[in-house]
Amino acid sequence: MQRSWLLLAALALPACEWRYAPQWPVAPDGGTTLDSPPTDVTDGVSWSPDGGSNWAPDAPPVQRNPNQFPPIQGALAIGNATASTLVVRVRPLLATVQLDCEQVAAAPSQWLSRNLFAPAQIWQVQSGRAFAVGVSGSKDACTALLVDGGSMPMALLFWKTGSYPVVSMPSTVDGGLADRLILVQNSSDGPHLSNHLAVHSAPPVQPAATPPGCAFGQAGDALEWTEPLPDGDGTVLDLATAPNGCHMLQWLGKTGIHTWTVCLPPGAMPFEPGDDFYASPLQGGHNLGQIQGVDLLGSAGKRLRAGRGQDVVYFGKGTAQIAPQPACGVGHDGCGSALEPLAVQVGGNGATATLVAGQTAAAGQGKLGIVRAFDVPVRNSACAGAPGMGRWVESVYTEGGEP
């Protein structure tokens, strides 16, 4: 028997199946613990615990008069087209998440990851009823929700806000606006969401790994420094260095002795105690893109430019083109932010070199190193050190010092 076939079959086996089917999976309306299933006296359909193995045959949902129920306001509605009362969990994006809606819309299941979503709001939905999502008319350009419930597998809802302005809809599965209604339907595999333009596959539990060679730089490699940056004339008094490239630089300036902590790629610091320098903030990158950082012009031909932002640091004559690395797709950091690896093509003196994160090449009168480079279409600002939205390049240009 083919192992690959067996492996597929094994995925359907329970193994140490820890999942537990609670008798009554949710707290009831009103917040008291149930000892027995509640009965919906309104329409005569009793609560059926959503345990997965107790789905009723596909009976038609209870027919209701839409006018019997008040309308709901929202962008879309999720309706229960099964014969049982359902528990539906709706997870919104965390408040700390920002999206580039245009980019994410191309492949929402790929760009979004599960840890971007907040704890669920629970809906108890009787057969034939519907509830609204996108209720507030998001001020954002798009909305994303993770939806599951009981034995219903998780699905992603994603839509651009302009596609579905908030409207008034019936709170039943009958008589509604067809393009606004997403139904929970039964099939042989159990309940699932009906086809709809806003319904997508849930992001994988484990985001796909970035292909080999598609480096964008890890958080531990990042260019970091403390504020304030050195400014004006100074002399290096002391320099302590850790093997990971972090330095504590004690320097004497016009206003006294200062300590500046900076983390560069290991071996990139050209200065040493006794060196004089003139420090100035970076005014822009090589292509005049927005960038923050410092330029330390030293005596004896030493120089350190360290910058981060939308551009690489200026390195003198030559070109620098920043573009996505081909065939690399998207990676995710530990907080769920989506990162698209970028490459910097450096040209000059008739030669070109393509640099990705962690690589260095001769440029101008010295060396240009790319520390991290990626585009950020999805950002979770809850993580310390999370970069801003859009293009993010960290680079270092050095002259002089030890190789």
Partner: protein
């Protein structure tokens, strides 16, 4: 993989129907079921056959063969890649012989979290922990698992035990391989190279009063545990890092004590500066033939200076490569526990969470005996899964990399674990559960119909911290039954140890599931998980001749968790579509 695997299982709710069909009764038999022998299959080139007479026979070094009798393949081979280790002398040794009286049986603990103190502290405060607060490495480390005597002839021995049983939450069948590591070394007999110890102590405002007093007392008592050739350095950090003592020989104890009394709390927390300065000191003192270690104690997250946790971690990792280890201690609920645990793990050290400042003394007087003594470095366990199984998850390590066919468990450092037996707490404290050593558990899915009893082949390689010699061991695990075969009621366990490991994993899984469900605003379902677990574990405990103190203590927290969830359930909103219009 492990946490997400549980999460994935939970989220794939369409499998519930399969679960209902496939679930089996789960009653863990306190008496392991004997296996029959002589049914082995081709092994992995192992050369030493071990005893395989009965399950649960933990005597006489019948370690790897406890469960998987049979024959020529249920075997263990220990050989030395570097002949200087002398470990190949084990070849041909009669493993069933009684161990010499002089041999020890001490557990080994991995670098990283040594407890689940933060999780406990949240429950004790009436709260509901988030899933991230429960680290399987730390949870397992608070469980002492008694392994067979280490008779492999090396300073470290690997045991692989098999358990097949229904789990205690749903009854669904589990196939587990439990990997245990122990050493014949005895804690009290250990000698170590002279130590250059650098203490980095958080003296921010929040440490004022009782916390700093406990730290000072603990540090002073710790001096008694050090040896004459050791040196002590002391770095205090708040708004900045200040060196209070630099490489002071222990012979000049009064100078060290004076520096300890200079610790005064006040200011913000510059964790990076404190750690940076401590590593600089340790690096400057580091000499061949001596050991250098930084111990970092903090009660909060960074509030000033360079605040990127990833940079702290990369710095600790870079110094670990140079042979300078890092042990971390978090005090109180505001400690940056996740960062401190990561630091210790990459820094070849251990992380302790202390919910009360008084616990500092315990760590400085008891744990210091073990966390300064690495037994093995660069430990790798290659896992090859038999043809009749698929690997589903690995628990109890952060160093797993692999897939369904196998992979490698990488552990930077292993230390002596302080507890001597499952029934005893840490010597000297009377209450501690740390120092258990824990286990690594591999969850497998059988492929029914495959006529192959080979379960796994494990290859251990490790580096001796003193000699630098690399040694290897091989263990092949062969089952008594074909994959997916019907198991007897009560399951099959190779020894009581794997049975305890199974119960421990059930408790972990229940805690993790309950945390995840509670986070999803579903405290009712979270309670259901724990309520399903409670009677099964209680039954197991009552069936023990001497109830296991670790599992019994776990159950105290299960009950506490349930009580906290009941309170939360009363406050959980459930939305409903709007009611019908009131009748006119």
């Amino acid at each position: 993989m492990k946490r997400s695997a549980i999460r994935q299982l939970w989220q794939a709710r369409w499998l519930w129907a399969l679960l209902a069909l496939g679930a089996q009764a789960c009653v863990v038999n306190p008496v392991p079921t004997p296996f029959t022998s002589g049914e082995a299959n081709a092994g992995g080139g192992a050369s030493k056959v071990e005893d395989a007479t009965s399950a649960g026979d933990a005597s006489g070094g019948a370690d790897t063969a406890l469960v998987f009798p049979g024959g020529t393949d249920s075997s263990s081979d220990a050989s030395a890649a570097d002949s200087s280790t002398g470990a190949d002398s084990v070849l041909g040794k009669d493993s069933s012989a009684a161990p010499p009286d002089s041999i020890g049986n001490t557990g080994l603990s991995q670098a990283g979290a040594q407890d689940f103190g933060l999780f406990r502290a949240i429950l004790e405060a009436g709260g509901i922990p988030k899933p991230a607060t429960l680290d399987d490495l730390g949870f397992f480390a608070e469980h002492k698992l008694d392994y067979p005597d280490p008779l492999c002839g090396q300073d470290m021995c690997m045991h692989a035990l098999l358990g097949v049983m229904g789990n205690m939450i749903t009854g669904s069948t589990c196939t587990l391989v439990q990997i245990g590591l122990n050493t014949p070394l005895k804690v009290e007999e250990q000698t170590r190279p002279p130590l250059d110890l650098v203490l980095a102590i958080d003296t921010s405002t929040s440490m004022q009063g009782e916390p700093i007093a406990h730290v000072q007392q603990g540090l002073q008592q710790m001096l008694d545990q050090l040896q004459p050739g050791d040196t002590v350095s002391l770095v205090a950090f708040a708004d900045a890092a200040v060196v209070l003592a630099s490489g002071v020989p222990l012979a000049n104890k009064a100078q060290v004590e004076k520096a300890i009394l200079q610790l005064k709390a006040g200011g913000q927390t510059d964790l990076f500066a404190g750690l940076f300065q401590a590593f600089q000191l340790a690096s400057s003192l580091h000499q061949p033939g001596r050991e250098a270690r930084v111990v970092l104690l903090s009660d909060g997250a960074s509030t000033t200076g360079l605040q990127a946790p990833a940079k702290l971690v990369s710095m600790a990792a870079s110094y670990a490569k140079l042979g300078i280890g890092l042990t971390t201690i978090g005090v109180g609920g505001n400690a940056a526990a996740a960062v401190l645990a990561d630091l210790a793990e990459v820094g070849a050290g251990q992380f302790y969470f202390l919910d009360k400042p008084a616990g500092v003394k315990e760590v400085f007087t008891e744990e210091v005996k073990t966390f300064l003594i690495p037994v093995a470095l660069d430990v790798h366990i290659a896992v090859k899964v038999g043809g009749g199984y698929v690997l589903k998850a690995v628990y109890g390590t952060h160093g797993w990399q692999g897939g369904s066919d196998g992979g490698v468990i990488s552990i930077p450092t292993l230390f002596l674990a302080g507890r001597l037996a499952a029934g005893e707490p840490l010597p000297g404290t009377g209450e501690g559960r740390r120092g258990g050593g824990g286990a690594i558990l591999i969850e497998l899915v059988p492929l029914p119909g495959v006529q192959d009893k080979g379960v796994t082949e494990l290859t251990l390689t490790w580096k001796h911290p003193k000699t630098g010699a690399v040694a290897t061991q091989n263990v092949a695990v062969v089952g008594a039954l074909y994959p997916g075969a019907q198991i007897p009621d009560g399951g099959l366990f190779s020894s009581p140890t794997v049975e305890k490991g199974f119960v421990m994993l059930n408790v972990l899984a229940a805690f993790q599931l309950a945390c995840a469900l509670a986070l999803d605003n579903d405290p009712g379902a979270a309670q259901g998980v724990l309520l399903a677990l409670q009677p099964a574990v209680s039954k197991w405990l009552s069936g023990q001749a001497k109830p296991d103190p670790d599992i019994a203590d776990d159950m105290k927290y299960v009950a506490m968790f349930i009580a906290n969830l009941q309170k939360a359930a009363q406050q959980t909103p459930v939305s409903k579509p709007p009611d019908p219009w009131p009748k006119d």
